[in-house]
Every structure is written in C-alpha cells, then in structure tokens.
C-alpha cells in the first residue's frame, strides 16, 4: 500500500548525506578561513580575568584593594612527586588533604590542569618557588585576592567568593563559569557588574609543544578584558573606625547619614568581623565559624535587624499631628486619664513633651489624630484615622524599602488597617484602645536602624530626604550613580512644624532624657532617645536607641544608634551617638571622659539568655513570633489593662517612654 514511500525515505537519507558532504567540502576544501597556517598549530583559548575595582572612602582612603596571589594548578598525568610527605610539609597540608585534592583533580581530568591550592600569598609562593622545580606537573598562576587594609565595614562590603551552583544556574547571561569569583552580599554584590569589569578571551595559536605562535586570525574573535571600575563611597573611614571602637563589646548598629546628600557616612554592625577572614583561602573554615557565632556577626544589623522604634517614633507623631491640624505647638495634655505612666511630672507643651519624652502626652496626640475625622462610630473612626496616619507615616519611608544600595534591605512593618482587620478577624472590630501602643512606637511597628537614621535626616532637612546610599561615584566621584540617589523625596510636612520638634530635641540633649555627659560642647546635638521593648520577652534589658542630628542649623550629620540590651536609651545609645557626631564634626575627640566610659561598657553579657544560650537569631525570631502570638490572642500587648486603671503590665510600658 505504502511501499513506494520507501523511495522517499531512502531519498531523504541520501539528500542529508549529500548536503553534509557538500558542507564538508565547503569548510574543509573551499573555505580556508579554518586553516591554521602550519597544520601543526592549534588554537587555544586564554581567559583574562580583569582586576576587580577598588573601593574608596569619601576622603580617598582605600577600603578594599587587590593583592596579587598565586593559585597552584596540578596536571595529574604529568605529576611527579618524589617525596609526598616533604611536599605536604612544604605546602602545609596533611597527607589526606593531598590525596583528596589529587583525587578531585583526576576526576576532573587526568590531562587538564585543575586547581590544587588557592591563593598562596607572595611570601608562601617565594618559599616554595624553588622547591617546586622538583615536582613536575604543578603550575602556579597569578590571581588576586581582596584585601581590606582598614579591617572594617565587613557587613556593608560583603565578600568575594566562589560562585555557588545555584547562582551559576540562574544567571541571566552566560558570564560566570564554575570556579569564578563573585561578590556576595553588601556592596560587592550590589555593584558586582561594575566592580568585576569584563573578562577577556584571547585565541592564540600554539604549536605541539605549547609554544604560543601568535594570535589566531589576527585577534578577530578576541574580546579585550575591561578592568573593573573603582567604587567611591560616602563612608568616612576615620569616623567608621572610631565608631567600631565604641561599639566593641556591644551588640547593635551605628548608622550616620549626611542629610543634604543621603550619603552614608558610618555603617557599623556590631559585633563585626575582619573582612579579610572571608577573602583568604581559609574562607570556608572562617565562614562556618562566623556562622556559628551566637552573636551572628554575619547579619548586617543597620539594614537587616528589625526593632520597635520606641520613643524615637514620637518625633514622627509630633510632625504628622501638626500637619493634620490636630496638634499645635502650645497644645498641653496632663497625665490624667492616660493608661501610660510617665516619669516626667506636669503639663507640658509639644517641645517640652519631646524633651522629656512624655508618654501620656503622645497617647493623647495619637488619640486626637485617630479620632480627628469625627466619625461618630469609634470603630469606623479608628479605621479612617489609622489609614490617614498610615499614609502620612509611609512617606517617612517606614514599612517601605528605601532603595538602599545593598541587596538585603528589609521592609520592616508599618501596621495598616488591613493588618489589624486580619488580627481582629474582620472590619471595624478594633479601635483606638486596641492600637494605642503605636503612639509611643511600640506594638506592631518594626523598623531597621537605617530607617531611623533617615528619619533623623528628614528632620535635619526640615521635610525631605534623599534615599540613603553608600556609593558616591563609579569610576570617579559623582558619576554613574543611580538617579534616585539625587532625588529629593518630600514627606509632606510644612517646614514650620519642625521648629517645636527640633527645639524639643535640642532640649532633650541639653537638659532632658539624655545623660548630661553626652551634651558635648560645640556639637549642638539634637536628638531623641528611645527604649525598644525587649525586657518583656524574657530578656532582662531593653534595647537602647538614640536618633539625632547636629548642628541645629544646616545639619551635617544625622545618626541612629542602637545598642541591644543596654536598657535606657538616654545613656548607652546617646553617648555613642554624641561621640560619633563630635568626631565627624571636629575630626577629633575631646569628650575623653565620655569616650572612656563608653568603651568600658560591656553590654554583650546582657544579650539574650533564652534557654541558657545567647543568640541574636533567636531573639529576632522571638520578636517576630511575639507579633504573631499577639494575633493569636487577638490583642496587642499593652491593652490588657483597662485604660483608666493602669496595672503593673502597662506600668512597664510606661517606663519605656523616656
């Protein structure tokens, strides 16, 4: 029936055969572009990995550069090791390591060179260079290693290490190959593409002995390696290192911003580690050690830690209350009727309330704001009021990503109407009395230190901010930076409303909640202390917070300091902030007494003792879990007591606002 189809099939076979023979005739006989000159030559591909860009601080000091090192390659089939033990001794490896390295190499290929030891320093290489002549099959190749002369900024910089399998698979373009180095975390990851440059490939002809005979086809297929570009940051290395020294034996962050530009001046995550640890060939060993450290030095706290802002949040409340028209500079509230206790005494105006961090005052400020819409149903009024409040606070960057040039920024949490609807299982089932702990920055708010530093910058600028960023320039200062880092973002607060708030902030430092030592002469620090509730969650101490800026007029620096488990915000955090600001403004430290006392403090001992084991991770978890646990009981932490009659629980909450 279909017998004749056999001819079509055979015809197809012959046709393909003919096409292939014609093609072979073309590329082998007619087209001589594949000819290699002398038939004994061969083409070899040489990959050139360019120098990775260096990183500088704002004054041109080097933060990261490259040190030349040697990688040792082995070709198993050519390898001749007359005395293995002597060789191992020389290389400082054990016999087992030697065997497993050689095994790995053989598995890869007995004939091709594979990596044997990575990153031998110049000194190590000089030591073995002569002896290496006796061991055939080993070949050193030049390479480079990231070096951090200032030994600081580890968390912000990230590190450079071998590309992971997952990254290799998920890359958007075919750039990286197995064994390539790539930036992880921090600026090294964020600016990977500019720092790494572009790898070059050269095709060279070589004869049978491997002697290079020139380029193939005059370099027609070659791509030239492009060196990585330098990254200029806004970091002030001297102040950074000084802040490091202040944060020794403490857990927390110091983050400082230049308000006019949004450039990050100081970025301390404590405890930190020496970034050189993760660039040597002992990477894995050191990395595991750091990973297991109970204080979690690998977490970049200014960006990745979430805290309740505590009383520092009162600044935002004061600003949006005024803008809304529900609060005036001369508004006064007494303590009476508030569920919150306070340590200040008396009736105050707005700036006085900021100065002394009066809890009841801000309870009423918030209450007025929420009910300002005048809806007669308190449940509906609360929902409308919270929505208005949410929209206003959102503009300060809270509960949002600021767009910092680091890959790991967190959003934090700014509770919305939906958020409470979910907790209370439906619309209009909660009202002001359920959410009033927000008034003093407690409850469900979660904010990272950099966001609070940004709030300080907003107040310093009287109404706008530029997204905080590390980079000041790529290639040279002022070029290649994302346009968003020049963009002024308004927070929709009239500049005139900042006056009373700033007055209160200055007052807090001069004669308020801040320890007197931190009022350093000629610094004109304005600030607000805060205490982030932590003691209730099984810890003995709260977190100490301070945000501020200086000087009062034309501010040069805005700062946020968090010291975990250091208790009251007016002391630990304010002292660190004052010293860092002084150092930045005066380029020297004159408040030696304060300097001494801060350095002597050790708050690390206070860090979490849950289950007898210290651990930040657990602590952060417990913070988060707490939010969820609350949702289970459907009531925020501080509303168990009746508003009129404070009991011991609310009493603790009251003490927190200082």
């Amino acid at each position: 029936m279909f017998e004749n189809r056999r001819y079509i099939v055979i015809g197809a076979f012959c046709l393909v055969g003919l096409i292939y023979i014609a093609r072979l005739f073309y590329i082998q006989v007619l087209d001589d572009s594949y000819s290699l000159g002398s038939s004994k030559n061969s083409v070899k591909r040489v990959i050139e990995i360019p120098y990775r860009g260096q990183i500088y601080d704002r004054n041109g000091k080097l933060i990261v550069y490259n040190t030349p090192v040697y990688d040792l390659y082995v070709t198993p089939k050519q390898m001749k090791v007359p005395d293995t033990l002597a060789f191992c001794r020389m290389m400082n490896i054990t016999r087992q390591e030697f065997d497993s390295l050689i095994n790995l190499a053989v598995t890869y290929s007995p004939f091709k060179p594979s990596l044997f030891l990575r990153q031998l320093s110049k000194e190590d290489f000089a030591r073995i260079q002569d002896a290496l002549v006796d061991y055939r099959g080993f070949e050193p190749r030049m390479s480079s290693m990231r070096t951090y002369p200032a030994h600081t900024l580890a968390n912000a910089l990230g590190y450079v290490s071998e590309i992971s399998k997952k990254q290799l698979e998920e890359q958007a373009t075919f750039y990286y190959r197995q064994g390539d180095y790539v930036g992880h975390n921090g600026l090294e990851e964020q600016y990977e593409e500019v720092l790494r440059g572009k790898r070059g490939v050269r095709f060279v002809m070589q004869n049978v002995r491997g002697v290079v005979k020139g380029s193939y086809k005059n370099g027609e297929f070659d791509t030239i390696a492009v060196a990585g570009q330098n990254l200029y940051t806004g970091i002030d290395l001297d102040v950074q290192q000084y802040a490091d020294s202040l944060m020794a034996n403490k857990v927390g962050s110091v983050i400082a911003i230049e308000p006019a530009t949004g450039e990050i001046l100081v970025s301390v995550s404590a405890p930190t580690y020496d970034p050189n640890l993760l660039s040597s060939r002992f990477f894995s060993k050191n990395y595991v050690k750091l990973l297991k450290n109970p204080y979690k030095p690998l977490i970049n706290r200014p960006i990745m830690a979430s805290y309740r802002p505590g009383s520092t949040f009162k600044l935002i409340q004061a600003l949006i209350g005024q803008q809304q028209g529900s609060l005036f500079p001369n508004t006064a509230y007494s303590h009476a009727g508030s569920p919150m206790r306070c340590h200040c005494h008396g009736v105050r105006s707005l700036s006085g309330a900021v100065q002394y961090s009066c809890n009841p005052y801000f309870y009423y400020v918030f209450r007025k704001m929420i009910y300002f819409n005048g809806n007669s149903n308190t449940f509906k009024a609360s929902a409308i009021g919270l929505q208005q409040w949410y929209d206003a606070v959102k503009l300060f960057g809270i509960g949002q990503k600021l767009g910092i040039d680091l890959p790991t920024e967190l959003k934090g949490n700014l509770p919305s109407v939906d958020y409470y609807d979910k907790i209370y299982n439906g619309q209009y089932r909660w009202k002001f009395s359920n959410i009033y702990s927000l008034s003093i920055g407690e409850g469900e708010l979660l904010i990272s230190p950099i966001k609070l530093a940004n709030v300080a910058a907003i107040i310093a600028n009287r109404g706008y901010y530029i997204p905080p960023h590390y980079a000041k320039g790529i290639g040279k200062v002022g070029s290649g930076i994302d346009a968003t880092y020049y963009e002024k973002r308004q927070v929709n607060i009239d500049p005139k409303y900042f006056g009373p708030v700033i007055e209160g902030m200055r007052g807090a430092v001069v004669h308020g909640t801040v320890t007197p030592l931190a009022n350093i002469a000629d610094v004109e620090l304005c600030g607000k202390t805060g205490t982030s509730q932590n003691a209730k969650m099984g810890h003995k101490y709260d977190h100490s917070i301070f945000i501020g800026f200086a000087p009062v007029n034309n501010p040069k620096i805005a700062i946020a300091v968090f010291v975990e488990n250091a208790g009251w915000g007016g002391k630990a955090a304010a002292s660190v902030a004052a010293l860092v600001v002084e150092r930045y403004l005066k380029r020297k430290t004159e408040a030696l007494k304060l300097d001494e006392s801060v350095k002597a403090q050790n708050y690390m001992l206070n860090v979490g003792v849950i289950g007898g084991k210290p651990g930040l991770k657990k602590k952060v978890d417990s913070l988060r879990k707490d939010t969820t646990r609350k949702s289970a009981v459907k009531k925020p932490l501080m509303t168990n007591a009746a508003p009129a009659k404070p009991v011991s629980r609310t009493a603790t909450a009251g003490v927190n606002g200082n």
Binding site: R6, I8, G17, L24, S42, R177
Partner: protein
C-alpha cells in the same frame, strides 16, 4: 528447522561488514582523540577511553552472540515485557539514579555506569512493532494514532524528566517508520514545518518571519492552478499562514515571557551557540576549526592538534566526528558519511524484503534511530544543526550507547536471518 541453521549462512554480510568498519574506525578515532604526543598512551591502556572502548566492543561481541542464539520469536513475544521493564527502569533511575553531567539518568554500580535511556529506544521499537503487527491496526485511524503516540510518548516524557533532552528528541525518529506504515503525510510535513518555525522564531526577529510567511502565502496563491484559484483555497492558505504567524508569536512569547532567564538561555543556546561564546559557542567554533583545518586529506592518524584533551570537551563522545575531520580530512569524513548512508539504505532495503510486518516495522525503527543520530550528531559539528548531546552510532565512546546500537542492529539482523533461512528451505 530454521533456528538451528548456522547464523553465518543467513546473516546479511554487507550490514555486518559496515558495522565492523564503523566500530573499528570509531575505536581508532577514540584513541586518536585521547592520545597525547607527550604521554604516548597505548590504545590498550585501560585508564583511557580507548582501552575502555575495546572492552565495550568485546562485550558487544558477546551481546551479538546472545542475540543471534536466542529464538527470533522471543523478541516478538516479549516485546511488551521489555517495554514494561524499561518504563520501570526509567522510573527507578529517577529515584535511585546518580547524577552525571547534570542529568539524573544513570545507574552507577562501582565505576561502571549505565544509562537506561539508551535502551529505551530499543524497547520502544519492539513495542511499536508488536502493536502495529496486529492485523487491522491502521495508522489513519485516530485511535491507533493515539495508542502509538502513547507508546512513544511515555518513555520520552520520562527521559525528559531526568533531564536528557537529547535522548528525548531521538524519539522523533519513529516518524520515519510511522510514515512508511501509512501515517498520513501531513504529520511529518507538519512536524518539519513546526520545527523549522520554532527554530526560526528563536533566531530571527518576529517581524522578518511574518514578512516571510506573507511572501510565501502570496507565492502559494500565485502558484495555485487557475481552476483551483477560488475563494476557498485562498482562504485555506490564508488560514495556514495565520496559524504559522500564531505559532511563531506563541513560541516567542513562551520563550521570552514565560520561561525564566536561565531556561531561556538553555533553549536559545541550542539554536544560536554564539550567545555563550565561552561554552557551547566555543565548542561549535572549535569543532568547525578542527574539521576545517583537516583540509582535503587530513593531518594524519594521531597527528591532529586541535582535537586533543582541552579543546573540545566530549572529544571522544559527542564530538568524535571532529577528530575524523581533522585527522582524515575531507576524504575521511566523506567516507564516514557514505558509510552511514550506505548502512541506512541497506537497512531500508532489508526491511522492505521482510515477510512479517513486525520485522519490517522494527527495521524501519532501527534505520530511523540511526538516521536521527547521524543527522544531528554530524550536523552539529559542522554547524548545520543545534548542539544536542547525542552520540554518533558505533563511533562515539560509551558503553551504554554502543551496546544499545549493537542490540538494535543485531536484533534486526536476527529477524532478517530468519527470512533468508526460510527462503533457502523452500
């Protein structure tokens, strides 16, 4: 009694000779591919691919003897059991297999690894032959088409799931047998058109393809015989053109908007190796340089410089044809192409002589599979086909592939020997 006749008298000597020629040439070229002038390794060195290939050849001889000794009815009767067992193995390899080169499709027993996907072709061929052998089965009927698609599709999908795209595509080779057995010609034509459109959609901008389709449609209308140039046929051509546009746009959308970047790359690099100049693109460039530098008579046995060790990866397996092209030039490569065309044509001629439908169908399956491997493997080294990692039958290094190709071929020769023995008895 046919089955007691000595095999020697009944086996097709021409095919056997072609087989031996291919296997021996393959072995020498595997040796040349791994040979290093500095090491001067022997062809019998068991630590190299050449020595191991000799072992695979030796074991293949044992397999051939077994195949020829076993009664021919065995292959017919046990076809479904083979098939079921194969499916079981393909499932098992997904749970218990080990990873080699990124594909999870190998059984590893000591230093010895086996890839069931290679044998799935054989089992599927037997099952297809058995199914279509039944009188009344008609490939123009939708029900039978569906069954056949199921028999082919099941192992193909399982192999695809273990990340062996190349081996999956080989299952397209059965279309040749199905065509011969009466599958309407529209299927292979549609298949080829779809593949072409798919490849074009990945290489060229959409706009150009649309213009191309438009021009083709106009030309087709123009070429219609005058008496046939009515509204219906013009509308038909228009619809076909529109369908083609839709397919191209669909492929473009699927690849660029649905797939993730790394999956996109995996597909794009198939048709355009130059987007990965250090990886697949490098292989293709190197393969062409190696073959092209062989010129007319080649550089001579073991004299190749381009195809050693660190140049083209998979030198002794998927890219073995480069060694032939470099060391034996146009003469050698043309001879290999002719050997394959000869072997394939011989298989078709033998298949057509079969009395039983089972043997004929099986013969066409074997020819189709060999043809697909030959076309794709050599095509990719000379830049006419996308880079799909499948071996060149009998030439490429590798136990699983040599065994499966040998089994495929000799089961057919066994079936064929019965035909000649029956003739001689009459």
């Amino acid at each position: 009694m046919a089955r007691n006749d000595p095999f020697a008298r009944n086996i097709d000597w021409l095919t056997l000779a072609l087989y031996i020629a291919c296997v021996l040439m393959g072995w020498f070229n595997v040796y040349a591919a791994v040979y290093s002038p500095e090491m001067k390794t022997s062809i019998f060195d068991m630590s190299t691919d050449a020595g191991k290939q000799l072992m695979w050849i030796g074991t293949s001889v044992i397999l051939i003897i077994c195949v020829l000794v076993i009664d021919h009815r065995f292959y017919d009767q046990f076809a479904y059991i083979f098939y079921g067992f194969m499916i079981f193995m393909l499932l098992l390899v997904m749970v218990a297999g080990s990873n080699i080169n990124g594909s999870h499709s190998w059984f590893k027993i000591g230093s010895f690894s086996l890839q069931p996907a290679e044998f799935a072709k054989l089992a599927t061929s037997l099952a297809l032959a058995r199914y279509l052998d039944v009188p009344g089965v008609n490939l123009t009927k939708q029900k039978d088409q569906l069954y056949v698609a199921g028999i082919i599709g099941l192992p193909a999908v399982l192999i695809l799931l273990s990340n062996e795209t190349g081996s999956t595509l080989v299952f397209a080779a059965f279309i040749i047998m199905l065509y011969r057995e009466g599958l309407p010609a529209i299927y292979p034509i549609a298949g080829i058109t779809l593949t072409t459109l798919f490849v074009l959609a990945l290489i060229f901008p959409l706009f150009y393809i649309f213009i191309g389709i438009l021009v083709l449609a106009v030309v087709a209308i123009f070429l219609l015989p005058r008496y046939n140039r009515n509204v219906r046929s013009i509308a038909g051509i228009g619809l076909i053109g529109l369908a083609m546009v839709g397919i191209v746009a669909g492929v473009d959308f699927f690849v660029n908007d649905v797939l993730q970047t790394h999956q996109q790359n995996r597909i794009k690099v198939l048709v355009n190796p130059n987007i990965d100049p250090l990886g697949v693109g490098w292989n293709v460039t190197q393969a062409k340089i190696a073959i092209g530098s062989g010129r007319f008579e080649g550089k001579g046995f073991l004299e190749g410089t381009q195809t050693k060790f660190d140049f083209v990866p998979a030198q002794s397996t998927d890219f073995i044809f480069c060694t032939i092209g470099e060391e034996h030039g146009f003469m050698g490569s043309a001879i290999v192409v002719l050997l394959f065309v000869g072997l394939l044509s011989r298989l078709i001629i033998l298949a057509e002589k079969q009395r039983s439908r089972f043997a004929r169908i099986y013969g066409y399956c074997v020819a189709g599979i060999f043809f697909f491997h030959f076309m794709v493997n050599i095509g990719m080294t000379i830049g006419l086909m996308p880079v799909i990692g499948i071996p060149l039958p009998f030439f490429s290094y590798g136990g699983s592939s040599l065994w499966s190709f040998t089994l495929l071929l000799f089961i057919f020769l066994k079936l064929d020997s019965r035909r000649t023995s029956m003739l001689s008895r009459n």
